[in-house]
Assembly symmetry: C2
């Protein structure tokens, strides 16, 4: 059969929390088309390598990040999405915590790879803006179902900080009291006994997520 062979890439939309905002990792595209635009890390799938392996090596090689939470996303397959040749892209929504990001931060040049707040993105190439939007939707579902939270919030976060993250991801403000209640009465978090330091105003209690991470069912 002619024409049945395709290029397929695993795409990584990697989210983390920086300054109480959801940020996405982008790299600068070095080649035409869309040279100089920012794009999502991705890696071609070879015919004897699984998708899981491909996405985790993509994370390590291109972003210097360990494998954490990965959820399969949508497929992007328009014939002209990569202009020059037809590449089918399979998106993955990945979550890494800010502590891990900070450790790796020094090693990378911000000219090549950088984090951008999802509400303040740079020029993004190809169809990657669509992919990021689809990923944000999935992130919202994850946050509301409290799946993968521990990958985004390592121990010692404050609730106001977490709330700001939720607000940045959902795109609208939340009530402080109701926000606390969601986590308290579901017994999801526990106090570490410490408080924030060096901030203006009253210090916030610090929390960690409890271990019991049962998959919550929606229905």
């Amino acid at each position: 059969m002619k024409g049945e062979l395709n290029y397929v890439e695993a795409i990584a939309t990697i989210f983390t929390v920086m300054n109480s905002e959801i940020c996405v990792l982008l790299q600068k595209n070095k080649k035409e088309p869309y040279k100089g635009y920012w794009i999502l890390p991705s890696k071609m799938i070879k015919k004897d390598i699984s998708l899981e392996e491909t996405i985790s090596s993509c994370l390590e090689e291109q972003a210097g990040l360990p494998v954490t939470f990965i959820k399969e996303g949508n497929t992007f397959s328009a014939v002209d999405r990569k202009v020059e040749k037809r590449v089918i892209g399979i998106n993955h929504v990945c979550l890494v915590d800010s502590k891990t990001v900070e450790l790796k931060q020094r090693e990378i040049s911000k000219e090549e790879l950088d984090w951008f707040p999802i509400r303040n993105l740079p020029k993004v190439g190809f169809d990657n803006l669509d992919i990021i939007e689809s990923s944000i939707q999935q992130l919202q579902t994850l946050l509301m179902n409290k799946i993968g939270l521990k990958y985004l919030f390592p121990s010692d976060f404050s609730l106001p900080e977490m709330q700001r993250v939720y607000e940045s991801a959902l795109g609208h403000p939340l009530d402080r009291r109701n926000f606390r209640k969601r986590f308290m009465q579901n017994d999801l978090i526990e106090e570490t006994g410490y408080k924030t330091e060096g901030t203006t105003g009253r210090p916030a209690k610090l929390y960690r997520l409890k271990e019991i991470e049962e998959e919550p069912k929606i229905f």
Copy 2:
């Protein structure tokens, strides 16, 4: 780059309602491996054909069905999932109504293509059981969010009938009064003025789904 070219197939998990049960369309596999097992319709993606086009021509050519409701599903990419060669499979959940199915029914031989209740499947080949299970999960979400209902229930259905379908899809019984309420107070259905005939017991009122099919948001 060597080894970057892949076979990719669009897979169609097609659901319909028959005898108040959710059924899935399967075809008999004619070639080894898994010869004689039942498999999901699928079609190789050619490098200049979009995924949407591929799946709709797959529906038409292999099942003789018009394009109706299609929702992208998961990707199945294990290196050995098709045993002989590596084929990446992109699933699609499709809904067709029973009237359309009946019209096309005569033209196909049940030796080659047939509908099976999802709780009573025949021997299914390759990884297709995983794919069907993943599709059933997505179908459940669609039913609960009332998305695509009109593709599954054409005009003149009774509520008890619809309830049996929900119960077969969800795998547990539902309360009759509460079931009605869900549809009534959301203003989703309207009476056609007709009733079922030729059944034992009191005849059931027949309904149709109202046109206003706004995407319900979950959050």
